[in-house]
Symmetry: C2
Subunit: 232 residues, 2 copies
DNA sequence: TCCGCTTTTTGCGAAATGGCAAACTCGGAT
DNA sequence: ATCCGAGTTTGCCATTTCGCAAAAAGCGGA
């Protein structure tokens, strides 16, 4: 018998919102805890989708790799997010690889439990629909940016998104609170690390950002925002 | 009292799959029929999401317009698809404009009925989740293509997608069964109508496609597929 | 403290694509 | 049958972005 988990662990996750205490307990009953050292893959692209997860602590990146080895960052997973719900969308395997970018902690459930959870608590299905709907809108936002914006604005938008997801206020500005490389940013914006480097070096000179290896601080979010929106 | 609609109208739509006859009747009870002349907008980007729809006949395109007037084709709606379900994803307004590209026929429901439908038939929520999940995967496919492929391959992929959605076999090849302009294809692939024109002119010379104004015929789907996949 | 490896920067030339302008071509309306 | 206009093609040049190569700079571990 696994150790008893407290309801407070999941009660505030948006996906479990509005569920009764009994239902939450039933869900927790089936959960196992998963410790994820930095660099660990939680699941691999193409592997059977045997489990789904909720992130309690840490940060993951979800990456798709093309046949010729190019990588695309699909999204970042923040605490409170669920991920790996391929099966709920009737996929049998994971469409991407999820990797811990810092040491992380997640809950895991066997995919087979999903239907039971839904049956027990239909509100869960509506919450999941909302969650996936939000991701769909985010994806459309990215498609719009990739289709209509040049590189500099795309990088600006990506950075602002990181600020919202993982920004931590410091004296110098807003720190992206997990390691991010130029390569990562390139894979988020459909460009190359070289171009990202050039863009960010220019911004650094203008005092918009400050960065060292794997670390990015946005010093002037407002000017960055203006730059991201300027339609020219 | 609206005219009685037959269950067979919606029984085979994937979203209503596995619903009981009684539930289907209850759903149909609330539906109204909407005739959509070519060029009509079913709803406009930014308008309150008061209704959702199922397409019975015809074809729509869903378009997002940026602040500076550029357009992006989000997707095409085919018979059997539901669309305008912004409200189910907890959005209050439509994120895009849906326009009939040929004369079309749709069922419409007030958005407020969605929750009642779900409560009555929870399987509907799971079906909707699957539908939105599929769209999310499609969106990720496009993001991957926009991020990693050059224009020619993106156009090839877009064309192959149109073949799958609306291909009709003819003597000369597979006809895309609704009007498509170079501009449309450009808005599906994040490029310009000029570049699309150049690409397709080259393909025409190679015998891959044949096209006249607003009409595209894929003469050699296999070679087009090879071209779309070739990782160089 | 020094070494080694990853990450970042930078220069330079090439290639892809965009932007503009103009001509052209159909198809449908009058 | 003719005209009009949306849609398409094409040439030319500008610009963005990539790709390759090499150097520089940090960071972490030995």
């Amino acid at each position: 018998m696994p150790k008893r988990l407290d309801r407070s662990l999941i009660r505030d996750l948006s996906i479990f919102r509005s569920m009764s205490d009994e239902d939450l307990d039933a869900v927790l009953e089936m959960a196992s805890v998963r410790q994820l050292p930095e660099g660990t893959a939680v699941f691999d692209q193409g592997a059977p989708a045997t489990e789904f997860f909720a992130l309690l602590h840490g940060r993951l990146k979800v990456v798709q790799t093309t046949v010729d080895g190019q990588q695309v960052v699909v999204r970042h997973v923040s605490p409170g997010d669920i991920f790996g719900i391929a099966r709920a969308m009737r996929r049998t395997d994971y469409p991407a690889t999820a990797t811990a970018v810092v040491e992380s902690l997640a809950l895991a459930w066997a995919s087979s439990h999903w239907e039971g959870f839904i049956a027990r608590s239909p509100v869960l299905a509506m919450n999941a629909l909302q969650t996936v709907g939000q991701r769909l809108q985010d994806a459309h936002t990215r498609i719009r940016e990739l289709s209509t914006e040049e590189v500099e604005r795309r990088v600006a938008h990506a950075l602002l998104r990181l600020v919202n997801q993982a920004g931590r206020k410091t004296e110098e500005g807003i720190l992206i609170d997990f390691p991010v490389t130029r390569q990562d940013i390139a894979e988020m914006t459909g460009t190359t690390l070289h171009t990202v480097s050039r863009v960010m070096t220019a911004w650094e000179a203008k005092g918009l950002v400050a960065s060292t290896r794997k670390k990015v601080v946005v010093k002037d979010p407002h000017r960055l925002f203006v730059l991201a929106e300027k339609p020219e």
